[in-house]
């Protein structure tokens, strides 16, 4: 039995700094995928929720104020952007759960690559967002929504949506590290709703009171939705606004990516 535990001492290969970064990031991504396999229902619920919203707004609420043209063509891009914004919650919850369980401590006391924990989180969340976009697009197409400007424009739109999601991801990680506990996340979660709904996802800003319309137009989510509508040829798209859907997420990333990384490094404070 003692041989099982005898430490190998100097025979252990010397650690090479920076070498196993990819391996560690993959291990952490694998972990998230294993969570999916363990809890397929949760993943499914995550995919069904935006579809439900789409059906509710498409058929129950039925038509947004100030929207001319086919409402589905207006609504689907809005819902795609909203799904990306709501991804923030999932990111925050996952990060705070890890912090709360102490498993982060074990990771941090291991010789793993710096940031592999965050990269694993980011990769898994982006993968889930791709699935979310696919589910919503599929249901949208089944309902009669159509992409008018061809496949290249479609993938351009997907790129913009994922860029926006990537910015939300790092905001989520940062807020989770600041909040610390899952209970506090619930408070922040509530804030996601006004941000999501104070946008042009469901209704045109022109139809709103002046100041509200302005706020809605400045919402980064609205910029992404407008650009996606433009690319896909639906109502509510404004030509030449793609740049805003690129610049806004990049600006958010420039702020929150370093903040999140620094905050994670400060866990040893």
């Amino acid at each position: 039995m003692s041989t099982t535990f005898a430490h190998r001492g100097p025979a252990r290969p010397a650690p090479v700094p920076g070498a196993h970064v990819l391996a560690d990031c993959w291990t952490m991504t694998r972990r998230e995928l294993a969570h999916w396999a363990r809890q397929p229902v949760q993943v499914l619920v995550g995919l069904v929720f935006p579809v439900m919203l789409l059906l509710m707004f498409g058929y129950l609420v039925g038509g947004g104020r100030g929207v001319t043209g086919d409402y589905l063509d207006y609504l689907v891009p809005g819902m795609l952007a909203l799904t990306m914004a709501f991804g923030l919650e999932g990111t925050m919850l996952a990060v705070t759960r890890d912090l709360d369980k102490g498993v982060i401590d074990r990771f941090r006391a291991m010789p793993m690559a710096d940031g592999a924990v965050l990269v694993g989180r980011a990769t898994a969340d982006m993968l889930q967002s791709v699935l979310g976009l696919a589910a919503l697009t599929g249901v949208g197409l089944a309902l009669g929504w159509r992409v008018h400007n061809g496949i290249t424009a479609f993938f351009g739109a997907v790129g913009l949506l994922l860029l926006f999601r990537f910015a939300m991801l790092w905001i989520g990680i940062h807020l989770a590290l600041v909040a610390g506990k899952p209970e506090l996340v619930q408070a922040v979660q509530i804030l996601v709703w006004p941000v999501g709904f104070l946008s042009n996802a469901f209704a045109a800003p022109d139809s709103m009171p002046g100041w509200l319309g302005t706020a809605v137009q400045w919402n980064p989510m609205s910029r992404t939705a407008t650009a996606v509508r433009d690319l896909l040829g639906g109502p509510g798209g404004e030509a030449g606004h793609v740049w805003a859907a690129v610049v806004w997420p990049l600006a958010l990333l420039a702020v929150f990516f370093p903040l999140a990384v620094r905050r994670f490094g400060r866990l040893n404070g």
Binding site: T3, H7, P15, A34, G102, D105, A109
Partner: protein, 318 residues
Amino acid sequence: MAETAITVEGVRKKYGGAPALDGLDLVVRRGTVHGVLGPNGAGKTTLVRILSTLVRPDGGRAEVAGHDVVKGARQVRFRIGLLGQHAALDEELGGFQNLEMFGRLHRMGARGARRRAAELLVRFGLEDTGRKAVRQYSGGMRRRLDLAASLITEPEVLFLDEPTTGLDPRGRAEVWSAVRSLVGGGTTVLLTTQYLEEADQLSDRISVVDHGRVIADGTAGELKARIGGDRIDVVLRDGGLLGAARSLWPLPGDEVSVDVDRRLLSAPVTDRMAALSGVVRALEAAGIEAEDIALRRPTLDEVFLHLTGADRNVKEAA
């Protein structure tokens, strides 16, 4: 290879203005078990978190397995295992998945990690539950898996932060036997505990910590000599005879404590068996009936009372 596995020199750490560690010094020899004994809030956990690179010290210096815990943090992480107070496991994953993941992060490779995971599950009697989510484990099983995870690398230095707090006696015995078998393999163990009994059972040397400093240091035998060794508790049938019973001990006032509510006398003993038979005979001779007589280790409170004396009482009153 150096003789010392852990060197701590004047380490300080403050949390929100209050010092958790206040110039702590410690030396642990390679291949030994060192007990760090102290009450809640003494700084034990902060010490373990600094030594395992989770927290940076504000001042002072600490070396583990030959590397500085700040400058050589990564080197230290290759050589340590950590069992914290709370299970550091992925609760959603199974036992095997947890161990395999930690093995991969320790550069064992996919195959090596799987082999090591299977090996440890067998070693800790968890092979049948390896697929179940840790969330569904019992407290004892979780603790064993956590211990297995901290041994994934066959560490040079293992930190155990109150490893048996909250475990039932069986779980406690399991952890103790695991620690003993480790030491046979040459691992250095730093163990924190609130239980004198535990430090006594497992440690070669013990440091008593209070208010972020080491206030006493030595082998269990040396410390016991300083704190007066074991005690005998006598519960009388008739509380009215406490005074008479007290006079059987020719010891100065504060050496023998009298608890009127519980009809209890407590006195220090040097020779356990002689004291037991002596007390029984003396009580019989005096015609005093005892309800219960027991020998026991001093409690942590009594140890601290001896080591810090009135000083502590004054501080706590303040």
